[in-house]
Symmetry: C2
Subunit: 228 residues, 2 copies
């Protein structure tokens, strides 16, 4: 029998491909977070579609919409504008307003607590550093520091570790890896703005579209503005 | 004007004395967590009483009762017995069942997110290592690791740091420090079992009672069994 791993599945492309990678070695349990993000219900649907595709029984959905109480991000605070940039200006010098301060720390803490209870030994997360949105909590150094925290902050007999298999990949490599492993990219959702047709304009859509273009593959989901 | 610090105030003695210490240098904002613990409403009342005593305007109460979904602790899972020990066996060799796996990581993550938004530079927490209940997330090494995580996981322009002023103190020293700084110990609540008169039997009551006894001071709150 395979050992158990938790995969953080937002419903986006990176977590979907991360799942496909985790599945090669582990039995997987899926964790999804609702935190009052604008496209919450659309991401939730993508999560269950991907879980169904992989026939995942253990699913935990946790509501952390207290992040709204804290504020500070355009993803959870409707008074802050979602950033839209042209494709010619893809790599942001500053942290975008869609950044939820320290968000991944909350999410991974939930995963670690759950891992202690269900006996999972790995936590897979589809964080991307190279080609990322510039969030501080998507860097390799952040996950290295988190693994040290887990080591000292959990029971001595547990050995839980965060694994970030796509962190060094470009979006185009993630697309190619997903196709190679038959990940259900058609079921994923990345857009921060819309819930029916992806906007094609937000950071997340632009990064995704560029990834597919560079991979020479057509994105299977629908867009309002497919060319950005 | 004083700089701003967040204090994690459970309503217990340690966080109350930690507040008194923080107040010497900082303007304070109070963070309290409800997580479905058995004595939630009693702790909540103690929190507000202490906040009123110190005239604290900025109060954030966050509900993380999703910890109940995860389970694994007698504090949030009523099917697990609360440990009761005799006074002669105070220092546990094993982690007790009241341990909520990785709980402090969740709580501090909330404090860090809030600190980024309100511009606080310190997070005070009344963790105690020497005389503690044996939780892995109450050790100095844990907070050192967490400070590294904060350094890499937050915006470069922020410098948020966890401060643990009572971590090396024995309970009796905490009692004495509280009295020295006129901390409102009579408003605090430590019992894990009861909400009217403290049980005097749970881990938390026993540690507290021993602290007062060793300090040669009478505990100002009421007990069912004042001698343990």
């Amino acid at each position: 029998m395979k050992n158990l791993a938790i995969v953080l599945v937002s419903g986006g492309m990176d977590s979907c491909v991360t799942t496909a990678i985790a599945k090669q070695t582990f039995e997987v349990a899926f964790l999804h977070l609702n935190y009052g993000q604008r496209t919450e219900s659309r991401e939730f649907r993508a999560f269950h579609n991907i879980a169904d595709y992989y026939d995942v029984g253990k699913r935990l959905i946790v509501n952390i919409d207290y992040l709204k109480q804290i504020g500070g991000s355009s993803l959870t605070d409707s008074s802050i504008k979602i950033p839209r940039r042209s494709l010619s200006n893809q790599t942001p010098a500053e942290i975008p307003s869609s950044y939820v301060p320290f968000r991944n720390t909350h999410i991974i803490a939930i995963a670690v607590s759950w891992a202690e209870v269900i006996g999972a030994e790995k936590i897979f997360i589809g964080a991307v550093e190279e080609d990322s949105s510039g969030y501080p909590d998507c860097r390799k150094s952040y996950y290295e520091a988190y693994n040290k925290l887990i080591e000292v902050g959990t029971k001595p007999e547990t050995h839980i570790e965060i694994v970030t298999p796509v962190i060094d990949m470009k979006k185009s490599e993630i697309v190619r890896k997903g196709i190679e492993l038959e990940a259900p990219l058609h079921l994923t959702w990345s857009c921060y703005g819309n819930s029916d047709l992806a906007c094609g304009e937000c950071d997340s859509c632009l990064l995704r579209l560029r990834g597919f273009r560079e991979a020479g593959v057509e994105d299977p989901i629908g867009y309002v503005r497919p060319d950005g």
